[in-house]
Amino acid sequence: MTAASPPQVLRAPLVVEFPFTRSLGPVQSAFLTGLREGVVLGVRTADRKVMVPPVEYDPVTAEEIRELVEVAATGTVTTWAWNDRPRPHQPLDTPFAWVLVKLDGADTALLHVLDAPGPEAVHTGMRVRVRWAAERTGAITDIACFEPYEGPAGGEAAPHDGDFAGAVTGIVAQARLDYVYSPGRAQTAYINALSEQKTVGERCPSCQKVYVPPRGACPTCGVATTDQVEVGPAGTVTTYCIVNIKARNLDIEVPYVYAHIALDGAGLALHGRIGGIPYDQVRMGLRVEPVWTEGGRYPDHYRPTGEPDADYDAYKELI
């Protein structure tokens, strides 16, 4: 890279994982517990339609529905789509068809996948049956997939009390999404400067305020901040709090002080921990400087510089 070329934006993998724990209502509980037991349940609406998968409220009238029925594990494909390249987490890792299947005895269709040798083996109207998963836990994936089926059709939906021993009352909805995060131009410059133990902000061309860390825009003027300015290294404590709760996995003795620090030349305060002074001697106006640890990517904490305290008027606009 030559000196004139703009620095490459930073990028890094970002993984978002969230296991949502969700409770089930009586209808969803019966349905998912039924799958665990190898039974497919639906609900019957006031106008005698059987809905599989079952819902708790009629989508037309919004009436509560509780009348459970059992339907067959065989059915008919109402539409399909051939997926040559299964994506991560999908039910089968070989090419398969997405299908909507109207199970025998049901009036609505269930979304799932169909294991078939190729698209020529699939058509709307084809007959299929459930292939159960070897291990079942009370989840939609207890249906491993559907498979082609030549045998007799199932009969009408039959009443079912939905009572199972050890009913499933909740699910954990696992999700993982993978991203490549890029902080953009302004924050890349800030992070790169930190790696040289410098703090840079950006000046608003309109109001002249220096933002640190810079996000690329002045929120007062709504214009881009592009003029880079090195600030600090020393600064002034504008306000602070005393932390008495020990954070998990954090090797800092309590109590300690967390402060807003206006670095010299900055138009607003950033925050950091104050060290090198007893917690009860930290005060507004205290002059501090950053302390970097070996290989640290940002100041570990700030410590007193030994200078006289800053005059209140010098930092009151930055509180």
Binding site: T79, W82, Q90, L100, T108, L177, V180, A217, G222
Partner: protein, 352 residues
Amino acid sequence: MARYAREVAVVAFAQSDHLRRTDELSEVEMVMPVLHQVLAATGLKAGEIGFTCSGSSDYLAGRAFSFTMTLDGVGAWPPISESHVEMDGAWALYEAWVKIQTGEADTALVYSYGKSSPGSVRDVLTRQLDPYYVAPLWPDSVALAALQAQALIDAGETDEPALAAIGARSRAAAETNPHAQLSGSVPQGDYQVRPLRTGDCPPIGDGVAAVILAAGDLARQLCERPAWITGIDHRIEAHSLGLRDLTDSPSTRIAAEHAGVFEAPVDTAELHAPFSSQEVVLRKALGLGDGVSVNPSGGALAANPVMAAGLIRIGEAAARIHRGESDRAVAHATSGPCLQQNLVAVLEGDRA
């Protein structure tokens, strides 16, 4: 115009170039130039806007409350009257329109953006599905659209050549749209999820759109030919795909009835149909004949920044009215799988 308490018009529209990736820009850096452009078109300053509303989704970027960062680009200090929808910006426009109808604002800035490039948008969108019965199967957006396309083919409403022609027509129209991500002749390609081929699917990209709304005489001052919103409505259908007739869009039809689409002919339709097959459904629901210019901008098959593509349809329809190329246009936005939710707006210009 007697349908609503106040006359409200789209008086300006701006959009970014829609690109496959914008790694060098944070969200606010991507949004800000478009905000400046739309404000400049009216001469309004950020502080003169009565209400600001945005649309976006944290799931695209993978970060919570990411929209708050883009407020820096609006100029949110001193405090402004502001709101956000975790939806396409067309729904942000609806909220802003309601705000103006109540008399609490006379102008509104509406913007939305989508930065799909950090993640895999096909997989990300699976997280908006029913978490009990559907999301654990990870059916991606193309797969769900393909189920709808096959249902249309089985019903005899289209076939693969007709779908390919929709894609080709859209990308040909996009040749006159400098912001489009895909334009000109694009190979129809292989099946993505059969029966949909590459050419039936939208490009994945990053982009921004912004619109300014104004009421009554103020609209007339800000814009030579305001695009009056003479009707707007949105409807939703059951989330379970197996409950719906995928060959039809009753929510679009009902929204269109309430918006007054059928009360007089339209000359232009900007439809948010990310997949070619969805245009077939929407044309039927809106009763569009061959005389209507459908997606002269190229539509979502030419640029589909998720969360902005619907607002762009309203903006493109309005811009045609501003330029005198349309007198009565219908704009449509969609959200959710297989056209689950639909917003319909009628835009009209004053006749000479």
